[in-house]
Symmetry: C2
């Protein structure tokens, strides 16, 4: 074996669902050559990251190592695996990007937004084809998931073969793309697997996973039983589901229309990759708008209640000229991702108010997950029979339960959370270092660190309101009146002096009491004013706001 | 029948889960006498109501009708039924408040915080005892729920008997309080029911409801199998669950400690109401702290991931001197309320990082709901056999599905959402009016309307950041430099002029270009500055902030 060590370090995804980004390195300590597996995003939330557009992995640790990055491999085209690529590509020194064909089409679109040429993306065939990347040789092993051409990676290293599953499920009939192929996986495992780095998101699901193909019949029956318009929603990128839904619509005797651009774009990628030559016939929106409601089915985005999605607009009354009415049916062919319950509920209730029958996935008949459930994870461990299992992609509870599952079956397993550098030794993963990791926010057009204080200040303003005080000082005294502006604060009751008046009066009183002996130091005056504002507000409106004091010293 | 009409109007709860408040009125149109059933709150969320402490029903419509309010009846002591009473009591003209004993103890605590005497709360016995309230005669019909002495109301009106279920379930063995008593309900129904106004929250649960008593054995087995410390969490007010958990702990041979004040307070109310004379023995925290972990069980608050709860503090490392460690077990004997997934997940992950085994309700073995499931709702309709079913307490989808369920069984049903005034005629509910309803926010010490703009301004500051510009004008010109302060905004890259500098320079440039011909009107100058700030920020940081322009005109 060459002189060096094999290291593995998640920059995202191992401690959360989303924002997947994993480093593999080989070499002498401090001189490892790296590959990056996936470069995904996670999505901001109003309650923790207001105003933020996207959350990306912090890659500071790579900034002075970009000359040692051999390539980026993207396992599949989902945002939480590929969404950060365009934003971080130049900061990573414009490295090689390697994908399969469909993922390449998705990724090229993302890179084009950042002025990166389409040729940059190197598309290779699936395993047994492999490509060299420094000390590594890497191939794409097809795995079923909820987007076409998802892949695990076969990573041959001087320490042995690593299989990085990416997101996957076991599905012998996934409708689009390669079915689960036990023999092909066994073939990958043939020479012995050093480490299986394995998706953990569905480790809490005890049932055997179900096949995409099993949905067609129940969805068809559901549509056959519907009277008015039928609308179904799912993720745009789930091409197999689009096909399942469209086929069910056609089988039920309806014309199917997919009016939205996001879904059409993905279908375009799938067509150009030769994946959906047998997609059921669809009609154009112009034609669909004039068809009787009970002969039509729409497939739209917005399964997570996203603002401005097809679902959201239908709930609001109109989407591209389509309207729902009493007796129509709306199908969520999707699972609500934890955290999205409120936005999905908003849409369901708005549709309910229009008299629409809403069907969700509570029965399990109209949606299957794209991730491997617990028994499927066990089967995967068994097929690859690795020297160690390293759970990835999940919150800590998922990683921990996945590791326990492997250990219960007599396997070696270790948890390597974000920012831990593990050496994958013959006797298992050994944490050798902890590095700075975290989150970078895309905020407007700027990338900012999660701890820069910008978002924290926004949260403070949102929870406490703001008082801005302007003081004009001359000769170290306050000649006129202070100015106080209140933002996001309730006023005093209508029959009392306004909060602003009371604040200005109190501040003037406090500063006048000191007269010409005001501190020369703006900070000291600021603290004085801050205390006064806090006291007045606490007293009058029961809260202490964020206070900003602006001091303008006039020339004498 | 006396001259008048029977009206029903929800001010909260019919279009949401929480914030229950229902009006019943009898009399000539415009001269009805009212009773209020429940006066609950709902809880604010960082993403929609930052900084707000509590959300109460807007009762503006009652302000000029307070002389026509006969009484407030509180069905049970949960916050979403009783939490607004103290805050709104005086605004409602200090009316009669009528409850059963345990609810009275809870409600007295709430009213005391607002200086209202304990004697104000009138406690009556359960049905067949009844009390007169203007044109109504009202009794409390015991129903099982997840708090002691929950009650439906039997409301005799000149138009006939109305049963308002409150929150309820069908439970023949609820561990604390009266079991479901079909004969007693049938007795209430005996003379014929005009309207059944019925809880809808669990209408989507297809299974028969399960009994509280069924939990003891599985929880006991779970605890018997545990090695280290066992901690269980549930709602403090669920006295039956506290008893179930404590009994299971004792049966499994452990000492049980309930260290938190919220749970102790509720247990105090339950003891003083004679409800838990047979509560299992517990140990004091002082003693428990020195016991070996594997002989102890704690019961704590925080089942919804609430900040500063027992669960939250244990997840953070220390709660009243108790610490969890590797091999301990934490049981959520509760269901996560939609919207709380993220905060509950935060606690689960923090415990998982400490090596604690976390058990949730996913198996259904360790928690039962306090609400009636679909088959139980059907059974309830059947027992009362009302002339009409009016679904209450639920989002629109719940009300709508509940109404469909009733209709499917050949019953008359109608949806009456918040703010709709329905006349309950012999032929069903007929909406006769829509009134202003909505939400009032407790914000610091002030009550503000949801549409006052205060919270909206906070949300705008949180999503967009703030630029405050101060201008000193003299002789209608800008003699010096403007001041720009940025809050919650990223700065320009480090090697460029700061955002503040660029803003101040641009504003000065724009105003200097106009010279002494600046608009005399502050608003016009404000708009000019606002546009400049928007343009600069959009260009440099990709977003348009909230702009506040403060103008100080100096005497010439």
């Amino acid at each position: 074996m060459a002189d060096g060590r094999l290291i593995y370090c998640p920059l995202g995804g191992a401690g959360e669902i989303g924002m997947n980004c994993y480093l593999y390195g080989w070499g002498k300590p401090g001189a490892e050559r790296f590959i990056i597996v996936d470069l995904g995003v996670t999505f901001p939330a109003m309650d923790s990251t207001p105003g933020v557009s996207l959350i990306l992995p912090a890659i500071d640790v790579l900034r002075d190592r970009i000359d040692r990055i051999e390539a980026i491999f993207i396992t599949h085209g989902h945002e939480d695996h590929a969404g950060a690529l365009g934003h971080l590509y130049h900061m990573l020194g414009a490295p090689r990007v390697v994908t399969r064909a469909f993922t390449g089409a998705v990724v090229r679109g993302k890179l084009a937004d950042h002025g990166v040429d389409a040729d940059t993306v190197e598309v290779i065939k699936s395993y047994p084809a492999m490509t060299n990347a420094g000390p590594f040789t890497v191939g794409f092993m097809p795995v079923p998931h909820s987007i076409p051409e998802a892949s695990g990676l076969v990573i041959d290293t001087p320490a042995g073969r690593v299989v990085h599953t990416g997101d996957f499920k076991i599905d012998p009939d996934p409708v689009v793309g390669e079915p689960f192929d036990r023999a092909a996986w066994a073939d990958v495992a043939g020479t012995g697997i050093h480490a299986l780095v394995c998706d953990s998101t569905n480790v809490f699901c005890p049932a055997l996973g179900r096949s995409e193909a099993g949905l067609t019949a129940p969805v068809t029956r559901l549509i056959e039983g519907a009277g008015g318009l039928v609308v179904a929603t799912t993720f745009a990128s789930n091409v197999a589901r689009l096909k399942t839904l469209a086929q069910a619509g056609v089988d039920a005797g309806r014309s199917v229309c997919i009016p939205g651009r996001a879904m059409q774009r993905i279908l375009g990628y799938a067509r150009s990759s030769g994946l959906v030559d047998d997609f059921p016939p669809t009609v154009e929106p112009e034609d669909a708008r004039n068809m009787p409601h009970d002969t039509l089915m729409l497939i739209v985005t917005g399964s997570q209640g996203e603002r401005r999605s097809g679902s959201d607009r239908l709930a609001g009354g109109n989407y591209l000229g389509f309207q729902m009415r009493e007796g129509d049916m709306f199908l969520f062919s999707s699972k609500t991702i934890p955290g999205n319950e409120i936005s999905v509920g908003r849409i369901v209730n708005a549709l309910s108010e229009q008299g629409v029958t809403v069907i969700d996935d509570s029965t399990g008949a109209y949606h299957v997950s794209g991730h491997a459930n617990r028994p499927d994870l066990e089967a995967t461990h068994e097929i690859f029979n690795p020297a160690m299992v390293i759970p990835m992609h999940g919150e800590h509870r998922h990683l921990s339960t996945h590791a326990s599952l492997a250990r219960a079956n007599g396997r070696r397993a270790g948890i390597v959370p974000n920012g831990s550098v593990a050496e994958l030794t013959a006797s298992g993963p050994r944490i050798v270092e902890h590095i700075e990791t975290g989150r970078t926010y895309l905020d407007g057009s700027r990338l900012i660190g999660a701890f820069d204080g910008v978002v924290l200040e926004r949260l403070r303003m949102a929870t406490r309101g703001v008082v801005v005080v302007v003081l004009l000082l001359k000769d170290n005294a306050l000649p006129g009146n202070p100015l106080a502006a209140c933002m996001g604060l309730p006023d005093t009751p209508a029959n009392q002096a306004s909060l602003q008046e009371v604040l200005e009066g109190e501040i003037k009183g406090v500063l006048a009491g000191i007269g010409r002996d005001l501190p020369g130091d703006d900070d000291a005056i600021g603290q004085l004013v801050n205390r006064t504002v806090g006291k007045v507000c606490k007293n009058l409106i029961g809260r202490k706001p964020v206070v900003k004091v602006l001091i303008n010293r006039l020339a004498a």
